[in-house]
């Protein structure tokens, strides 16, 4: 698989008044096309700052971010970068622009100057990809949180991106809404081969990722498949993160002398280990 995003020695400093905050301290990261990556980390660990670099909403203080070979500091490629790596934000209310669902989904392609008949086709197919067909004329404020986030995802799909970056899209949703969004994102990754970078602080959302990246204080502290990352119970706790209760239970059972492997992620796995 080819790299679709490559980040080298990325530093980012925010300056607010006299304060200077070092938000990212030398990030190196390669994302391969088609991967499903989950980034976890406590508040202030820099994960949101990193996400905004993938879409050129922020530019490096030093270092380099390449999206499909395009340097985010190159103003000539700005729109092509934003089209290639679409972004979904945390608050479902504050990213929908228009007064109806279809107008909102059309917003991106309209900005790109796509011809009207093609926009109509893209709106139809994007809404169907997120299972929101039939909601074209609905007003966004009357939808549930999960539906709003799926419309936001459709708005990105209509720009035909290769990467979707989701910045804590489930933080404000109820469990049903969270499940809807996750199912949608996973489907887009598997069926359309869209690369996904999903940022969250819900550990259980990381279980099905290809790769989990743990951030702490502006750096990457762990990077690997979920199994090996979650085996590091103590390190995760030190970073201010939880592990899923079932992983914690497996950890404690091991310490009490029961033979269970280090890398249990799901309820089913633990049960199969204990009662084969």
């Amino acid at each position: 698989m080819a790299e679709i995003i490559s980040i080298a020695r990325l530093f980012h400093k925010y300056s607010t008044g006299e304060y200077q905050v070092e938000a990212l301290e030398g990030i190196d990261l390669e994302v391969r096309a088609g991967e499903f990556i989950v980034i976890i980390g406590p508040n202030g660990s820099g994960k949101s700052t990193l996400a905004k670099h993938l879409n050129a909403l922020l530019l490096p203080t030093s270092g380099q971010v390449l999206v499909k070979g395009m340097d985010t500091r190159d103003p000539a490629r700005l729109w092509e970068i934003r089209r290639t790596a679409g972004m979904v934000f945390q608050n479902p209310d504050n990213q929908l622009v228009a007064t109806t669902v279809e107008e909102d989904v059309a917003f991106g392609p309209e900005n790109l100057g796509v011809i009207p008949s093609e926009i109509v086709a893209r709106v139809v197919s994007s809404l169907s990809a997120v299972d929101m067909t039939g909601y074209q004329r609905h007003a966004p404020h009357l939808l549930s949180g999960g539906q709003k986030q799926r419309v936001a995802i459709a708005g990105i799909l209509a720009m035909q991106p290769e990467v979707i970056v989701l910045d804590e899209p489930t933080a404000m949703l109820d469990p049903a809404g969270r499940a809807e969004v996750l199912r949608t994102v996973r489907k887009l990754n598997q069926e359309k081969g869209i690369t996904v970078v999903h940022i969250t602080h819900y550990m259980d959302e990381a279980v099905h990722a290809d790769r989990v990246i743990v951030m702490s204080e502006g750096g990457i502290v762990l990077d690997g498949p979920p199994r090996s990352v979650f085996a590091q119970v103590e390190l995760l706790k030190r970073c201010g993160l939880d592990v899923p209760p079932v992983t914690e239970l497996a950890h404690q059972l091991r310490e009490s002398g029961v033979t269970v492997p280090q890398d249990v992620l799901t309820v089913e796995e633990l049960v199969m280990q204990l009662c084969p």
Binding site: A176, P244, L249, V258, V267
Partner: protein, 287 residues
């Protein structure tokens, strides 16, 4: 100081085609010093119920009694009720408005007529209860981190010295560390100061950790009500309502299905570990 709801119903937009029955003949009693959890799918009436506990909404039918006072009676002083029953809504940091943290926390008690001389003390106590350092008192609340802002908002309700604390999704949107901190402070309020707790949440792990009694709502009715472990052990029924269970409960259920004799009413990782170890030992000695 009990809160009693008798046969309470509430309808939004009554008499219009959009009328929605949000509460349907709810009878519920919250006793002194309890910790009650309320769960239910979105739209099951949890928020409407919460707003009845301090008289923000008046029942269309039925009665709500706080400390024996009927909230529908004209003579009932609602401010007095709101002093006793502190309600903290979802994302309470969105209600902050004063120039300083101290002034914002003082807003509630000042409205209740607490004399100026006592306000400072109230503010200081409330800040201590949620673990806010004193030097933040003169800072603007809008300069604080999200977790700190939420604690300022909670302190603003605690400063009214309520007997009952009602929290709607107290940890929504916080990271694990922020969540653990808030919950630890709330637990201390309950255990050390004896505050009655009512917690509404979608987070089953939080409910499992914080409450001893659990009421389940569905379509405006209370459909289950009992000790938290007992309610959570009815996993099939909860799933039927579209609700999850704590992961630990799910583990225990599956273990039983596969023949390991363990109890279902287990909520914490530690309890589960002991129960499983005991179950495995029993299994070996029996074999």
């Amino acid at each position: 100081m009990p809160i009693e709801l008798y046969d309470v119903s509430y309808v939004y937009a009554p008499g219009t085609p959009n009328a929605v029955t949000a509460l349907n003949a709810v009878t519920l009693r919250v006793d002194d010093g309890e910790s009650l959890g309320i769960i239910g799918p979105t739209g099951s009436g949890k928020s409407t119920l919460v707003q009845h506990l301090n008289g923000l909404l008046k029942p269309a039918r039925g009665r709500v009694l706080v400390d024996g006072e009927d909230l529908s009676q004209r003579a009932t002083n609602l401010r007095n009720v709101r002093r006793k029953v502190g309600v903290i809504f979802q994302y309470p940091e969105h209600q902050l408005f004063e120039e300083t943290v101290a002034k914002d926390i003082a807003f509630g008690p000042r409205n209740l007529g607490v004399p100026e001389a006592q306000l400072q003390e109230r503010v200081r106590d409330a800040m201590a209860m949620v673990g806010l350092p004193e030097q933040l008192a003169e800072r603007s609340p809008f300069e604080l981190s999200g977790g700190q802002m939420r604690r300022v908002a909670i302190a603003g309700v605690l400063a009214m010295a309520p007997k009952v604390l009602v929290l709607d999704e107290p940890t929504a949107g916080l990271d694990p560390r922020g969540r653990a901190e808030i919950l630890a402070h709330i637990r201390a309020l309950h255990h050390r100061l004896g505050l009655t707790l009512v917690i509404v949440s979608h987070n089953m792990e939080d409910i499992a950790r914080m409450t001893r009694r659990l009421a389940v709502m569905d379509r405006g009715r209370v459909v289950m009500d009992g000790p938290t472990p007992a309610v959570f052990s009815q996993t099939q029924r909860l799933r039927g309502l579209g609700l999850g269970t704590p992961q630990i409960t799910a583990v225990m259920e599956k273990l039983r299905e596969r023949g390991l004799a363990v109890r279902l009413d287990v909520l914490t990782v530690e309890e589960a570990r002991d129960e499983i170890v005991a179950g495995l030992n029993r299994g070996q000695s029996g074999a």
